[in-house]
């Protein structure tokens, strides 16, 4: 039956090809957008690993992680208060800005200022060097850059990099992490605050004396300091998954509409096909094809069309979303999961089945005598 179905669907090559394209676009979009939101999710959770076991602090009313804590101000006095709090081992302040066009050297996403004294803190969280050395105490106009940023701009240790019209010497390149840090420039915190006229820190990390009590410490801090937000990795992951879920819902939702329209295309094609083959279906019934056989035959054809569309769509959508990584210069990554591929195929099959049901039923119900008379 499948060989016959293949033969039948390629009788009208153009029409079948167009129908396949209809499904392809929908399923391709589902897979592409789905894999992009998976990619975002993975990227974010990997980023969170960087601060596992720590508490991130920024002042209330500022804009949070995604925008570099715009508006957050933490003074030296605050830092001392945190250092004195019971259960706190270490306080690591930093400043952060989103990348700006004035850098003019490609898409640096983040500028991060860290205290050279805290290098060990960052080093222990997976930021090993690919080349060169760390920022050390006494460095001023020295910088570390992320792996992707170096690659995109062809920068090596010893090259200059310009930030707000100040030239910094690249002393080290951080190895690839698949996180935002790959696209960052890291400066000594004092120099960065000078360059950007910042008086206060933007955010800080607090490490607990006992890592297993990080949530308890976070709650203690929350009840003692009203002006600050305290966020642990698990809080962030929760927040981020909500956002990613929303992105997922919208992107997959919208592309599913496209896929359903593709399914209507399959229905339309199969209705046409059944009409054109009326006589032939009548002949087959006269020589002994059951209604059930005819129904199955038409369903196989429509599922075949949409499965081909689904397969090609998954292929193109998957490749397309992977290539996004290169187009965007590593800012966005996509992840094609088994679930997405299986979901895409099942969705395509479902569309073929539902789209084929009405035409298949029409074909099965044809009266052979009338159909044979039909010219």
């Amino acid at each position: 039956m499948i060989d016959l179905a293949l033969k039948n669907i390629f009788r009208q090559k153009t029409r079948t090809a167009l129908t396949i394209v209809g499904i392809l676009i929908g399923i391709g979009a589902v897979v592409a957008l789905g894999s992009i939101s998976e990619g975002i999710y993975t990227q974010i959770t990997e980023e969170m690993q960087f601060m596992a076991g720590t508490i991130m602090v920024y002042s209330k009313g500022s804009s949070g992680f995604m925008t570099g804590f715009e508006g957050s101000e933490i003074t030296e006095d605050d830092v001392e208060d945190f250092e004195d709090f019971s259960g706190v081992k270490e306080v690591v302040p930093f400043v952060m800005r989103m990348g700006e066009i004035e850098i003019g050297m490609g898409p640096a996403m983040l500028l991060i200022g860290v205290d050279p004294e805290d290098v060990e803190f960052f080093k222990s969280r997976g930021t090993d060097l690919e080349a060169g050395r760390e920022i050390v105490v006494g460095d001023t106009y020295q910088a570390l850059i992320g792996y992707t940023y170096a690659e995109m701009n062809g920068l090596e240790v010893g090259d200059p990099v310009e930030v707000k019209k100040n030239s910094f010497e690249i002393v080290g390149i951080i190895e690839s992490t698949d996180a935002d840090i790959d696209n960052s420039i890291i400066l000594p915190i004092d120099t960065m605050m000078d360059v950007y006229n910042m008086d206060n820190y933007r955010a800080l990390f607090i490490t607990p004396e006992d890592v297993s009590k990080v949530e308890i410490l976070s709650d203690d801090l929350k009840s003692s300091f009203d002006d600050f937000e305290f966020i642990t990795t698990s809080d962030l992951v929760k927040q981020m998954s909500q956002i990613v879920d929303m992105i997922r819902f919208f992107t997959i939702g919208i592309s599913s509409i496209a896929a359903v329209v593709g399914g209507l295309g399959v229905m339309n094609t199969m209705i046409m096909s059944v009409l054109e083959r009326r006589r032939e279906i009548g002949i087959m019934k006269a020589v002994g094809a059951t209604n059930r056989y005819v129904l199955t035959q038409i369903l196989i054809e429509s599922v075949l069309i949409s499965l081909i569309g689904g397969l090609v769509g998954i292929l193109i959508g998957g490749l397309g979303s992977y290539s996004l990584r290169f187009i965007s210069g590593g800012l966005a990554t996509a992840k094609v999961t088994v679930n997405l591929v299986a979901g895409g195929l099942l969705f395509a099959m479902f569309l073929g089945l539902v789209g084929g049901l009405y035409p298949a039923w029409k074909a099965a119900k044809l009266d052979p005598i009338e159909a044979i008379r039909y010219e």
Binding site: A286, G288, P368, I372
Partner: protein
């Protein structure tokens, strides 16, 4: 010999009870024995094709019964009727009714594949049948590449595919010239001698005379056997 086909008192009415009511068959009785060659002779509109369809499990009569090998077929579901058409009935039509995208061979294979034969088995048997109707040289020709006589030979081979109990031919020579028509009738006479049972619907008395038995039908009534 016993009757393989028995038609009892069948009636076919189109649009019953409406102003355009049309009675096509009136209380028709008919019996056909195995190995017979019967001609159903009548003018157009006499109901002969409708009777043929009723015997061939294609068209439910309004009332009455059709028995095939003793089985009351119109008690069966549509799909069960399809199975009887597949196994016990072979059809030959005036319009040939071959499938245009299939080759001669594939057209004959089709009922075999429906009956569950594998591609290989179906092909082997279809080749034999096409040789039997002297079309062994035209296996891979498509219907548009064949003459009318050749098309009807393919149709005969297709009708024989599943060793039917009876072959029903509806004006099999109606679209052929006299000479080719005679050849087709001769082919069927030959097959009848080999044991196949035929019921041939025709309005042509010359053709009817090739049959061993002629049943005349007019205005939906059998005139006499």
């Amino acid at each position: 010999m016993s009757n393989i086909i028995e038609v009892k008192d069948i009636k076919k009415v189109y649009n019953p009870g409406m102003h355009n009511e049309l009675i096509v068959l009136k209380d028709v009785d008919l019996k056909i024995k195995k190995g017979e060659m019967v001609a159903l002779l009548g003018p157009s509109g006499s109901g002969k094709s409708t009777l043929l369809h009723a015997i061939g499990c294609l068209d439910r009569p309004t009332s009455g019964k059709v028995f095939i090998e003793g089985e009351d077929v119109y008690k069966l579901s549509d799909d069960e009727l399809a199975l009887i058409r597949r196994r016990k009935v072979g059809f030959i039509f005036q319009q040939f009714n071959l499938i245009g995208v299939f080759t001669a061979l594939e057209n004959v294979e089709m009922p075999l594949r429906l009956a569950g034969f594998t591609k290989g088995e179906a092909e082997e048997r279809a080749k034999k049948l096409l040789n039997l109707v002297k079309l062994g040289e035209r296996l891979n020709h498509f219907p548009r590449q064949l003459s009318g006589g050749e098309l009807q030979r393919v149709a005969v081979a297709r009708a024989l595919a599943n060793e039917p109990l009876i072959v029903l031919a509806d004006e099999p020579t109606g679209n052929l010239d006299t000479q080719t028509g005679k050849e087709i009738i001769d082919l069927m006479v030959g097959l009848n001698k080999k044991g196949y049972t035929f019921l041939i619907v025709t309005h042509d008395t010359v053709i009817a005379k090739s049959a061993k038995r002629i049943i005349k039908i007019k205005d939906g009534k059998i005139l006499g056997g």
